[in-house]
Each structure stands twice: as structure tokens, then as C-alpha cells.
């Protein structure tokens, strides 16, 4: 679905199905350097099982125009304005990595708009170290290689895949290539500079779920567990063999957990 917001074209995937009156909204927010393509194993699946899916391309990512936003606060406000445009007064929000930080900020900015929140492969603070941060500005391709390499678990590096014939490595790299130059650096800086996560997490009142990968090299499990401890009304799941890219690496497990959480 394409529409204009603040003078720029916005793309959100509805999972191939038009939104239906009265159905609950499910907002899927991608991580740094990614796009709605991260959720290709979730968006159609939930769109055809009773949800109004909104898998966003953040500004300056993939099919959405404009410049990439440079702070989590701006990104959270933007997703809320997308919800306004689509008539979604409330939604369950699901964020992966940077998307998880955006969820923390959305829940802080507009707690009444959040039905439930799901944190996938993320933490309350996601500091980004050198050399990744400096490479993102100076040598973007190297930064993409590093993120793809660290972003995948051992099975994905062995090219195991639930989608026949697909390569997590290839899809990861080429998905990042779909974004205009500068998106990776903007996203990583937004991650690095966002410090309100722990406070926001502690004040979330809605039900939350965390799904983390036991072999996550980008946001190691120990940081995720700290977030899970902070969230007052949380259910925690750890997928022991998954790397960081849980939506692609472990779609069946993630979808089953999501479905159960949404129904509860």
C-alpha cells in the first residue's frame, strides 16, 4: 500500500490483503538497514488470518521516500502517524532490533495506542560499537557485510532455510542494498543514541512478549534478558539455535508464539 505522508511517499506492506473493518491492527517494524521485507514470512501469514497488517518501510528505506530519520523518537512518532493515517487507533506492535527500540518509545509516547508489544531480538539499550558505526558512514558495504554476517545464526550461515532455495546471506545483503545510501548509518546512530529504553521499558503497562535468539551476535542474549527483566508484564521465549534474524531464521516458531500471544 502506498500513500503520501508529510510530503513523502510511504510504503507499508499489508501482507497482500486489504485491511478489513473491525480487524485488529498488527504493526511490524524492521531493524537497522532492513525494510518490510524482513517480515515476508509474517506479513502474509497474519494478513490472511484476521489481522490488518502494517509492515512499514521506514522513511528512506526500500519503497518509502524521504530521508532516513535519525532518532528513535522521530521514528516512533512517524510510525504513530502512519497508524493515524490508516485509522488504527490501537495496534499490537512488533519490533525487531532497532524496531524494538521504536516499540519502547511508541509505548512511552502513546501508551493508549498500544494493545500489546512484542520485542524480537532486541534490548533496552542497543549501543553500536566501532568499527561498525564508523564503517556505516565511511564504508557502507563493509558495514552491510558485518551486519549480515553477525545478524545470522550458525544454521543460516549453513544456508539452512524454511523457504526452499533461499539464502539468508543473499537476501540479507540485497535487502539492505534496496535502501538508499545513508540508511544504515542513520539507523545505527539512532540505535546508539537512544538511551531512554530502560526507563520506557519499566513503565510499559500493556502485555509484552520477548522472543530472543540464543545465538544472536548482534544483540547478545544477555542484553535481551535485561530488557525482559525490566518489562512489568512480560512473557519471555528464547529460541536457542536462532541468530539475530529470527523472523527469517525461525519463522514457524516466531509465528506460533505471536499467534498465541495475540489471542491471549
Amino acid at each position: 500500500m502506498k500513500f503520501e505522508l508529510n510530503g513523502h511517499e510511504v510504503y507499508v506492506s499489508t501482507g497482500g490483503r486489504d485491511h478489513q473493518q473491525g480487524q485488529p491492527f498488527l504493526v511490524l517494524i524492521h531493524g537497522a538497514g532492513a525494510s518490510h521485507l524482513l517480515w515476508s514470512q509474517q506479513s502474509r501469514s497474519f494478513a490472511y488470518t484476521g489481522y490488518n497488517v502494517v509492515a512499514v518501510d521506514l522513511p528512506g528505506h526500500n519503497l518509502s521516500g524521504g530521508e532516513p530519520l535519525t532518532s528513535v523518537e522521530e521514528q516512533a512518532a512517524w510510525v504513530l502517524s502512519v497508524m493515524d493515517h490508516l485509522g488504527a487507533s490501537k495496534a499490537t506492535i512488533v519490533g525487531h532490533s532497532l524496531g524494538g527500540l521504536i516499540c519502547l518509545q511508541m509505548a512511552h509516547q502513546a501508551p493508549d495506542r498500544i494493545e500489546k508489544a512484542v520485542f524480537v531480538a532486541t534490548a533496552a539499550r542497543v549501543p553500536v560499537g566501532d568499527p561498525l558505526l564508523s564503517n556505516a558512514s565511511d564504508q557502507e558495504q563493509l558495514a552491510k557485510d558485518m551486519m549480515t554476517s553477525w545478524g545470522l545464526g550458525p544454521d543460516a550461515h549453513h544456508f539452512d532455510n524454511t523457504v526452499p532455495g533461499f539464502s539468508h546471506v543473499g537476501v540479507g545483503l540485497r535487502t539492505m542494498d534496496r535502501n538508499p545510501e545513508g540508511a544504515v548509518a542513520a539507523d545505527l546512530n539512532a540505535c546508539n543514541n537512544f538511551t531512554s529504553g530502560p526507563e520506557n521499558a519499566a513503565n510499559i503497562t500493556c502485555p509484552t512478549m520477548c522472543v530472543f535468539g540464543g545465538k544472536d551476535k548482534m544483540t547478545p542474549l544477555k542484553f535481551g534478558l535485561k530488557l525482559a527483566e525490566l518489562l512489568p508484564n512480560n512473557t519471555l521465549y528464547v529460541l536457542p539455535d536462532s541468530g539475530h534474524t529470527i523472523p527469517g531464521e525461525r519463522p514457524h516458531e516466531l509465528n506460533a508464539l505471536l499467534r498465541e500471544f495475540l489471542k491471549a
Binding site: Y48, H158, F159, T162, G165, S167, R174
Partner: protein
């Protein structure tokens, strides 16, 4: 720093993680037509491309998927679709990207069946192809029309062994907003990585060097995921509503894997050029040793080039690594690991002497394949290219006296002895 596995490791491991239930280290052969659905919702989800999985072996199969994932990994693509043969692969790409009224530009130095498909079969369905010599860069550029959907080529032409200046060809296609599709059978990812040079789609006959053992026919389409199908309205099969799946837009929904998803949803579904699971298993066994085999193919080929070049009964030798080859400089630049294990040569005494040579070899085998672990010889003018007109043969770099040699992995001394005795017998016919 980033850490991806090297080609040698991928050739052995990519696509397969031993399952915890059976623990089989080798890739199991899933010799089944169909797969149990968990429930009716799961069945609907698979048909509707909501999630990955297998529903019917015409569309996908777990053993075939390992092969696909291995080839995708070795080529550095986003995905691969295995199919019944290399010809099925070209047919899939052609029919997914071009429709009646569309046009293709192709280099002329191609395998005979590739020429036949594009020149004689596709025009019956309204898709025309302009053939241009691969060295004629201006001609390639001029041949591109508004309705041209892709530029097709082989890096090492079969059987003329012309080597394409692929970087220049990709630049021409880029400027025209069309993808380059390459049949990479003759180079394999050991010699050349097409996606690193801007090629967007690879077709493979896995029957040849990739399999290497000559026991299974198979092919693959590898999707580079590096082409922006949405940059123009040239590719409606990928960027507008599909006839099924609720009018899915493959480009918007799947981005870099749009072509593969269309191949799976329409090509495999409607045409059914599926690879058998057992053939996929055989091809995987071959691929495991590709890097080591290619190393030996190349060293044996180099030794045979020297041997033939200095043999009194040989009138000419053609190989891209020879300085007198017209594409020697291009080959040196883009094929540093070797310019392939195919050699063309002429036997003094013309057609009859050539026939006598072929009938006299005892280690080499006279047959239609190439890229086998065993050394193979054939006379293209009377066999593989016999359906091609004299004019097209000339354009493809063929001559009547040419012997096509696919150098295998035998002892180089035994090969030289065999060729020596066969050339001696040929000389008696010639005299």
C-alpha cells in the same frame, strides 16, 4: 570483521544442517511426491505463499532445496530454483520475464540448444531475439529495443570458446535498464562469480562441471537479487498484479527475490520442469568436490593445450589462455583462475582424419556431454551443432574440422599417450 564461508566449505555444507531426529550427515533423499499438512490452515498458507515449506515435489522438495540453497550460496545469489536441465532453466527465465511482443538481445556465441530455443521456439510464442557477436559491443547496444527484456550471454561460448567482456556488456545493459542473464555452465563459481560483475540472473546446466560425474541431468536458475525490477514498467510479470494469489505484486511483496517467487509460483507450478530428488542428491555429491575437480580440470587443460599446440598432427588449437586467441586479454583479466577446461583443435587431414581420431581414442570418450570427470571428445559439426545453419555455425566460431575436447581428471600422461596413438591413426587416414 564479516565472516562468510569460502567456496570450498559451501560446496560441502551449504543448504544442509543434519536434522536432529535422524542425524543423517549425508543429505537424505526425500523421494516423495507430497507432504503432510499440519491442518487445513497450514495447507492454505503454503498454497498462498504465506510461509515457506513444501507442498508438492513439482514445486519444491527438501532434497532439491538443499541443492538450490547450495548453488545459491556458491554463486552469492538470493535464491536458486533447480529444474530438470539447463535448458529448462533458460526456458523458465525467458517465460517469466518476456511475453508475446517482447524482445531479447543475445550474444551469438551460444550452446546450440540455447540458440534454438531463442531463435526458433520462442518466436512461435511472440518473443523475438536479436543475436549479435559478443565482441560487437556497439552492435549489442544498438540491438536493444524498447521492448527488450534482457540481454542473454554465455561467458565462455560453446563451442567456439569466445570469452565475453562481461563488464562492458553489463554496462550496456545497465544503461538500457535491462538485466543480464548469463548461462554460467562453462565457468562455474570456481572460475567466475557473475553477480560480482553485475550479472543479475544465472542459468546453469548442473549436468556438466557442477555435477561432474555424468550420472544426472539437472539445471538451475540463480537469482542475483541485484536488479531493480520496479525502476521501470518493463517487467509487469514482477511488478503488477499476478493472476493468482489475490493479485500479489511480487516486487513489492518480496523485493530482491521477486523473480524466484514468480518462477516458483508460475514456472514450476504451470510448466512443471522439476528436478527429481534422486538427481538432486547425485548432483550434490558432485558439487561437494567441485573446487578440487576444477583445479585439476584447469591444470590438465593447460597441459593438453601445450601438448596439442606442439603436436605435428594438429593444425590449430583454440583456448582462451593462448596468446593468439582473440579474447586472450579479456580472459586474462576476468578469468584469473583459469579459462576453462574446453579446448578446440583441428586434426590435420580435415573431416575424415578428425573422425578417425575420435574413433581411435581409448581413454577419452566420444559422447555429447562436456564437463565430466572423464575426458570427452566430439565433432560438433556432425553432432551437437548439426541442426545449426552453416551461417550460424560460423558466427558461433565453429569450423568443420573442429574437435571439441572437454579435459577430464585422468593422469595427464595417460591422456597424452591416448591422444598420441589416436592422432597417429588419424595421420594414416590423412595420408
Amino acid at each position: 570483521m564479516s565472516e562468510f564461508y569460502d567456496l570450498e566449505t559451501l560446496a560441502l555444507h551449504a543448504g544442509h544442517v543434519p536434522d536432529k531426529k535422524g542425524g543423517s550427515r549425508a543429505v537424505p533423499i526425500h523421494q516423495t511426491t507430497s507432504y503432510m499438512f499440519e491442518d487445513s490452515r497450514h495447507a492454505a498458507a503454503l498454497y498462498n505463499m504465506e510461509e515457506g515449506g513444501h507442498l508438492y515435489t513439482r514445486i519444491s522438495n527438501p532434497t532439491v532445496a538443499v541443492l538450490e540453497q547450495r548453488v545459491a550460496a556458491m554463486e552469492g545469489g538470493v535464491a536458486a530454483t533447480a529444474c530438470a536441465s539447463g535448458m529448462a532453466a533458460l526456458h523458465l527465465v525467458t517465460t517469466m520475464l518476456a511475453s508475446a511482443g517482447d524482445h531479447i538481445v543475445s550474444t551469438a556465441q551460444l550452446y546450440g540448444a540455447n540458440i534454438n530455443l531463442l531463435k526458433n521456439t520462442m518466436p512461435r510464442f511472440g518473443v523475438e531475439t536479436s543475436f549479435v557477436h559478443g565482441r560487437d559491443l556497439d552492435g549489442l547496444k544498438a540491438a536493444i529495443q524498447d521492448n527488450t527484456k534482457f540481454l542473454f550471454c554465455e561467458l565462455i561460448g560453446n563451442p567456439g570458446l569466445d570469452v565475453l567482456d562481461i563488464d562492458a556488456v553489463v554496462k550496456i545493459a545497465d544503461e538500457a535498464g535491462i538485466p543480464v542473464v548469463m548461462d554460467a555452465t562453462f565457468c562455474t563459481p570456481y572460475l567466475f562469480k557473475p553477480f560480482d560483475h553485475g550479472v543479475s540472473v544465472i542459468t546453469h546446466s548442473l549436468t556438466k562441471w557442477m555435477g561432474g560425474h555424468g550420472v544426472a541431468i539437472g539445471g538451475a536458475v540463480v537469482d542475483g537479487g541485484n536488479f531493480n525490477w520496479g525502476a521501470s514498467d518493463k517487467f509487469p510479470t514482477l511488478t503488477s498484479a499476478h493472476y493468482a494469489l489475490d493479485g500479489i505484486n511480487f516486487w513489492e511483496e518480496f523485493g530482491p527475490t521477486a523473480l524466484t517467487q514468480r518462477i516458483r509460483a508460475e514456472g514450476m507450478y504451470n510448466f512443471g520442469p522439476s528436478l527429481s530428488p534422486t538427481n538432486a542428491f547425485h548432483l550434490l555429491q558432485g558439487i561437494e568436490t567441485l573446487p578440487m575437480r576444477m583445479e585439476k580440470h584447469i591444470s590438465n587443460a593447460r597441459a593438453m593445450v601445450e601438448f596439442l599446440k606442439n603436436h605435428e598432427q594438429v593444425s590449430w588449437v583454440k583456448h582462451p589462455e593462448l596468446e593468439d586467441h582473440p579474447d586472450h586479454d579479456v580472459a586474462k583479466r576476468i578469468l584469473p583462475n583459469g579459462a576453462g577446461s574446453m579446448i578446440g583443435f583441428g586434426v590435420k587431414g580435415g573431416r575424415q582424419a578428425g573422425a578417425a581420431f575420435i574413433e581411435s581414442v581409448e581413454v577419452a570418450s566420444h559422447l555429447a556431454n562436456v564437463g565430466d570427470a572423464k575426458t570427452l571428445v566430439i565433432h560438433p559439426a556432425s553432432t551437437t551443432h548439426s541442426h545449426i545453419s552453416a551461417e550460424d555455425m560460423k558466427a558461433g566460431g565453429l569450423s568443420e574440422d573442429m574437435i571439441r575436447l572437454s579435459v577430464g581428471l585422468e593422469s595427464i600422461d595417460d591422456l597424452k599417450k591416448d591422444f598420441n596413438q589416436a592422432l597417429k591413426k588419424a595421420s594414416r587416414v590423412a595420408s
